[in-house]
């Protein structure tokens, strides 16, 4: 009958045919094997790709696993594939996404009003744009007067930013550490600046 295949090879076949990331839980279901064995199989497969000089590697992304081309090959492959990556998100869009993602992670989804409060500007247009591009989606309404819509991130959000899950986002400590490393210290008290005409004529870009 069927040839006995190593579990890692079966996992490889599953990941190959699947269009979206497969979680270890799902793989265990599909293959009818305990999840611990599947995890061991995934590690084995990952090592096989890494050691075998393959153009492919195993990537943990969007709450699952996928086979992808190696990141180090990107310059070569982008040229061969003729791919131009044109889409870049604006700073405003990244801010809105950050707010929604962190609130989503804290299981306290944000409303448009929440986003606006943090940013100090009306953000409805950005939210709409991000929803059209499937980075965020509506997730019910908040049980407060006016019952505003709640927004959460989508699998596409995780995939686009190469995140395993929302816990993969840096936590507050890590974020605040970014400022301490910044070349222009903002925490140091400074002498009173000449407020009428700032001496610095070449301003640094905002953070």
């Amino acid at each position: 009958m069927t040839t006995e295949l190593a579990l890692s090879r079966l996992i490889e076949a599953c990941l190959f045919v699947s269009d979206s990331p497969l979680s270890d839980r799902r793989l265990a279901e599909v293959l009818s094997r305990p999840i611990s064995e599947v995890r061991a199989g995934l590690a084995e497969l990952r090592a096989l790709y890494d050691d075998g000089g393959s153009a492919l590697e195993l990537v943990e992304i969007a709450e699952g696993w996928r086979i992808a081309t190696r990141a180090s090959l990107e310059p070569t492959l982008a040229r061969i594939f003729g791919v131009r990556r044109l889409q870049r998100l604006s700073r405003a869009a990244l801010e809105v996404l950050s707010i929604i993602a962190y609130r989503d992670r804290a299981s306290d989804p944000a409303t448009a009003q929440d986003v606006e409060q943090v940013r100090g500007v009306d953000s409805y247009a950005v939210i709409k744009g991000l929803m059209e591009q499937d980075y965020i989606r509506q997730a019910g309404r908040k049980e407060v007067p006016g019952s505003p819509l709640l927004y959460v991130t989508t699998p596409r959000f995780l995939e686009y930013f190469g995140l395993k899950d929302l816990k993969d986002l840096p936590d507050e400590m890590e974020l605040d550490a970014l400022f301490k490393e910044s070349p222009q210290p903002v925490m140091e008290p400074s002498p009173e600046p000449s407020s009428a005409s700032p001496a610095d004529s070449t301003p640094a870009p905002p953070p």
Partner: protein, 300 residues
């Protein structure tokens, strides 16, 4: 307003302002962004926010930008008034009982700034992550089997702007390939009507002369201009009118030609020449028609 997410980040440098600022408002994502920028620029301590100087700078900056974009200024103006209010509250003497950290009127604004700065940092992290993530290709994202040319855009990643750019390329290519039409369909009766009209005008004027401007309407549809041109050519070919222009760009004058007769109705003048075909089908402006006409004219 906020830029749409699809928009590529603009690194537009604004015009230099008298105060030494060289950036414009649309560079900032909002009033808090501008405030953080000013704080960082002046190396101020965000926790010990010097309200008076930052307010002065903020207001000065907004004033310098007011003419640029009124709509954007709205949200910035709200922050300006908030700052001014804060500034006056800082100046007023506070009761010593409440002189604690909790009662610091700056507290709310500082908290907002700290939170916003954190969000911006998170945005920066996200951006870095997206750049790193874009280095990997997944199955089914590149269709190499489809006929394609280098530099083609994946539809998945196409934005309205990339689509517009592509549309323009296709349009230009089509334009380059377009040939001049071989046939122009113009109803012959239109030319006849127009010719008759010109002849009637000619017989109606005392000095037997009309200026081209009198029969030509600048705003006329293209077909009408074409009809007029054909009529004038036809009439002059039949020696029913003379067309004169004294100098380049001078007024073009029309006067009766050698065969013009004011006692004959204009329609018969034309008909006697059998210039126009009698059927109603549009005439092709092809060489064969020209031969036909000249042959007919020669016989009379």
């Amino acid at each position: 307003m906020d830029a749409m997410p699809v928009q590529v980040e603009g690194e537009a440098g604004g015009a230099a302002e008298p105060g030494g600022f060289t950036v414009t408002l649309d560079r900032f994502t909002g009033p808090l962004d501008l405030l953080l920028y000013l704080i960082k620029k002046n190396q101020m301590d965000i926790l010990e926010l010097p309200v008076a100087p930052i307010t002065d700078q903020y207001v000065q900056y907004i004033e310098s930008q007011k003419d640029v974009n009124l709509e954007v200024a709205g949200e910035y103006m709200a922050m300006a008034s908030e700052l001014l209010q804060l500034k006056s509250r800082m100046i007023l003497p506070r009761p010593p009982v409440l002189e604690s950290e909790e009662s610091d009127p700056r507290r709310a604004l500082v908290d907002r700034l700290l939170l916003y700065r954190r969000i911006q940092a998170a945005g920066g992290v996200l951006k870095d992550r997206s750049i790193a993530a874009a280095k990997r290709f997944y199955r089914g994202t590149v269709d190499l089997a489809a006929p394609y040319r280098k530099g083609v855009i994946l539809l998945q990643e196409a934005t309205l702007f990339t689509l517009l750019a592509e549309y323009r390329i296709v349009l230009d290519a089509a334009r380059g390939r377009r040939r001049p039409p071989e046939e122009i369909a113009i109803d012959a009766s239109l030319v006849e009507e127009r010719s008759t009209d010109i002849l009637r005008r000619l017989s109606g004027v005392p000095f037997g002369e009309i200026v081209f401007d009198e029969v030509y309407f600048v705003a006329a549809p293209r077909v009408e201009v074409l009809v007029l041109l054909l009529s004038l050519l036809e009439l002059s070919r039949l020696h029913l009118i003379l067309v004169r222009q004294e100098a380049p760009f001078a007024a073009i004058r029309l006067e009766p030609g050698p065969r013009f007769r004011s006692d004959v109705p204009p329609a018969s003048l034309l008909q006697s020449e059998q210039v126009f075909e009698t059927d109603e089908t549009p005439l092709p402006a092809s060489p064969s028609r020209g031969e036909e006409v000249s042959a007919g004219a020669g016989m009379t």
